[in-house]
Assembly symmetry: C2
Homo-oligomer: 140 residues x 2
């Protein structure tokens, strides 16, 4: 099965990260401790975990930021991109790329979370989003 159950982001401190996700995105934690916060996503779990604990769990000591990856949150309407990027930067995010139109169509910008993890905020009219937030690949 082509499946990812959890995305875990290594973070320096929970309150700073929590503010970005709860005030910026407006998301609600499913569970939180002093070490980790879990968010229920569209069919999987997003975890923000203290980097030292994640590194220890992975038995890896050389974690670096920013990593060579990006996460994308897709919105339903083009006019949602700019306000969301505004809320994310107001909640501690750093603008990487102001929104513009990529070659394949749509509209998107990039914001780094307070731990330098990259988020693309995108309107992609070619990729349908169902009522549960599930996204389907399609050729534009």
């Amino acid at each position: 099965m082509q499946q990812i159950a959890v995305i875990t982001l290594g973070i320096a401190e929970l309150p700073r990260s929590r503010r970005f996700y709860t005030e910026g995105f407006g998301w609600t934690p499913a569970f939180e401790t002093d070490e980790v916060i879990f968010y229920q996503m569209n069919g999987f779990v997003l975890s923000t975990w203290r980097t030292a604990a994640l590194a220890s769990d992975m038995m890896r000591t050389d974690l670096m930021r920013p990593g060579a990856f990006a996460l994308a949150h897709n919105v339903r309407d083009r006019d949602q991109v700019v306000p969301l990027i505004g809320r994310l930067t107001a909640a501690g995010g750093n603008l990487l790329r102001a929104p513009d139109e990529p070659p394949h169509g749509g509209f998107r910008g990039y914001v780094a979370d307070p731990d330098a993890h990259a988020w693309e905020i995108a309107w992609n009219p070619a990729w349908p989003i169902d009522e549960n937030g599930h996204v389907k690949f399609a050729v534009s």
Copy 2:
């Protein structure tokens, strides 16, 4: 909506990465070009994109590996963990942590893909997986 539409991993070269995902995990690309491969996942899309193109899209030039994050693929049965880790390492992955039992229960190990991105392969009996591969957070 608490939603992630795309996870994009920066990769050095497609054939090496493709082998890990198609032969190791057994996944089928939804679409591929010389620059990028997309895999349809459980309600979102996994993208493996040449790192230089991802960096350019993000307007960020300082991407490093390994990044401070991990992805988890959860299996339905404990006895699937060891064989899958074996297939992943045979397909170009590097073992980070041999499978053992974490404090919260279950059974898991970690493998890095050929571009040093970490994958946890986990059996977590506390978190239900539905017939579409969607995973729900639950307290164990």
